[in-house]
């Protein structure tokens, strides 16, 4: 079985995210971290391999993005992926979520995986949706926000929280599964794995290389145009107390609550 893990480079949580006013796109210059949810997807792939209920021949990390996105692939490989695939092309810049999902599906089709894993969300916007877009293009079933993943009778047995409680769903391969952070505790990469990551095979492909129709991607090919931004209604900012002396802090909290007749 071949598992592909979709990974993504995201901004450092400490960097303030902003929209570049001249392009209307997110300013991604501060990006440098592997999306934390993706580390759970890689760990899930590793646990499937180590669990032995299915034979995992290969784990391939896949990303789309500019040259710098290679860093996310190196991190993915240091966490256990065997090799990686980098889809990069100027024509892809500015793709909306549907166009991004289409492009990623093309890159994945190039690998023909039995299972695609990804993190359920990224810090920078395309919450919950990319897996479902990719899955429909690949003609695979998809389940998102999965918190437990087992193999039973050669199929996936998955658990997740949905609208009315916890659902247990059986899914036959091939499938696209996005995972939540409760699914596992990702391991830390060894120093050796970090050092060795750059030596693992990394294939770089452009849009033509995976058969992407460039009229369907990029800012021009996207069906959603987001060139207009405005500020939300202002909310009065609250009072902030830095706790230096806890007795005094507690006194202030109690006074605040008391003033509002909450005690």
């Amino acid at each position: 079985m071949k598992i592909c893990v979709l990974v993504k480079e995201v901004p450092d949580a400490a960097v303030e995210k902003r929209i570049n006013p001249s392009t209307g796109r997110m300013d991604r210059s501060g990006e440098k971290n592997l999306n934390p949810y993706d580390t759970h997807a890689i760990e899930a792939a590793m646990q499937l391999r180590e669990g032995g209920a299915v034979q995992v021949d290969e784990i391939v990390a896949v990303t789309m993005g500019p040259e710098s996105a290679v860093r996310a692939l190196h991190k993915a490989v240091s966490l256990g992926a065997d090799r990686s695939l980098h889809l990069t092309d100027e024509a892809l810049a500015g793709s909306d979520v549907a166009a991004t999902g289409y492009a990623l599906a093309k890159a994945l089709a190039h690998e023909a995986p039995d299972l695609v894993l990804l993190g359920q969300q990224s810090d920078d916007g395309e919450c919950y949706t990319i897996g479902a877009v990719v899955a429909d293009h690949l003609k695979m079933p998809s389940l998102t926000q999965v918190i437990k993943l087992d193999i039973e009778d050669g199929a996936l047995r998955l658990e997740r929280q949905a609208e009315y409680g916890y659902d247990t769903v059986k899914v036959r391969f091939p499938a696209v599964i996005s995972v939540g952070d409760a699914i596992n505790e990702p391991r830390y990469p060894s120093l050796k794995a970090i050092m060795g990551a750059k030596k693992k095979p990394l294939e770089t492909l452009d849009a033509a290389g995976v058969g992407i129709d460039t009229s369907l991607v990029g800012g021009e090919g996207s069906r959603v145009q987001c060139a207009e931004f405005h500020a939300p209604p202002a909310k009065a900012s609250g009072q902030i107390i830095e706790d230096e002396n806890t007795d005094e802090t507690v006194e202030k909290i109690v006074a605040w609550l008391d003033e509002r007749k909450l005690i």
């Binding site: 949580a13 909306d96 916007g125 659902d167 996207s222 959603v224 507690v250």
Partner: protein, 326 residues
């Protein structure tokens, strides 16, 4: 034709409140662009004529009903694909929740359509609908304009209010040949409740705990504080700690949990992600305690305390007890 198709989720013979809100929203916006709101339901024998017709009261003129598996996205994508291909609706609206995200995104792929999620407002501009979506931690609103034959709008939870305007809905039964991959997923159990049943929706004072409590035992601090407030108080939790098994599902606030608006919401060790915020932002007073000064919750808390919970909560509990005893 500028009709709007709304997916309506149901469970055990009742429609989802967020879906009903989406029908109301769809009806109001469709009227502004010269169209009708249509609903689509997929399920088993509990989708009776009597139940389905009630969607008329929320503004649906037609309800497309298909027999199919419940609680899974792929069958609904197949149904909506067919309904839109045959009837030409220009927009599809979802009321939020996990299935709405999955179906809307899958439908976007199937129909080569644009999709916007976490939408908080839909407006008519001429004969088009545009969708507003807060981005970057709700610090800006991004406006989506759609190109092509279909625009997909996935609402944020609680974004669309239900309005009963009255009216009759025509039921149209749809026969769908499901795609092969729709049959690859099969529901084993649905809607399982885990952990004790607790009531947080009726509480005036909620002490809510998140990952910042550090470990399951951290909830003892939250419980002690809630007990000190006494009266109508309770303890709530974030999805992260519920999924981790620290606290019961019935106590969960947020996107896939409960929506609350108590007099006081005291968030302990909660970062304040959007998925949590949507379930508690209408609370009258929000107090947040978190050691990370950059936590998003401080942007919408009325009183924020940057500090260590393990030091603050026990002393706060004692102080409130003392105050109450005074």
């Amino acid at each position: 034709m500028s009709d709007v198709l709304v997916y309506v989720l149901h469970y055990e013979g009742a429609f989802n409140k967020n879906s009903l809100g989406a029908v109301s929203e769809g009806a109001a916006r469709a009227a502004e662009i010269g169209g009708e709101a249509h609903a689509v339901v997929v399920g088993g024998p509990d989708l009776t004529d009597d139940l389905v017709k009630t969607l008329g009261a929320y503004g649906a003129k037609k309800v497309f009903r298909a027999k199919g598996a419940e609680g899974l996205a792929q069958p609904v994508i197949d149904v909506m694909d067919k309904v839109i291909t045959e009837n030409g609706q220009r927009y599809a609206i979802f009321g939020g929740g996990l299935l709405g995200f999955e179906i809307g995104a899958g439908l976007a792929a199937r129909k080569q359509a644009g999709v916007t999620m976490e939408v908080t407002a839909v407006r008519a501009e001429g004969s088009e609908l545009v969708a507003e979506r807060p981005i970057l931690g709700d610090s800006q609103i991004s406006v989506s304009h759609y190109r092509g034959d279909l625009g997909i709008i996935i609402g944020r939870i609680n974004a669309f209010e239900t309005r009963q305007t009255g009216g009759e809905a025509e039921i149209v039964d749809v026969d769908v040949e499901y795609s092969p991959w729709s049959g690859q997923a099969e529901m084993v159990t649905r809607g399982e409740q885990r952990g004790a049943d607790v009531d947080i929706e009726g509480a005036d004072i909620l002490v809510a705990g998140g990952r910042g409590l550090g470990k399951p035992e951290g909830f003892e601090l939250a419980e002690a504080l809630a007990a000190a407030f006494g009266g109508n108080s309770a303890v709530a939790a974030t999805r992260a700690v519920v999924d981790a098994g620290w606290y019961p599902y019935a106590a969960q606030i947020g996107q896939t949990g409960k929506t609350v608006s108590p007099k006081l919401y005291l968030a302990a060790g909660i970062s304040g992600a959007i998925q949590h915020k949507v379930g508690m932002q209408s609370s009258e007073n929000i107090v947040a305690i978190n050691k990370d000064a950059n936590a998003p919750i401080f942007e919408f808390a009325d009183l924020g305390i940057v500090g260590d919970l393990n030091k603050i909560l026990p002393k706060l509990t004692e102080a409130i007890k003392a105050k109450k005893g005074a």
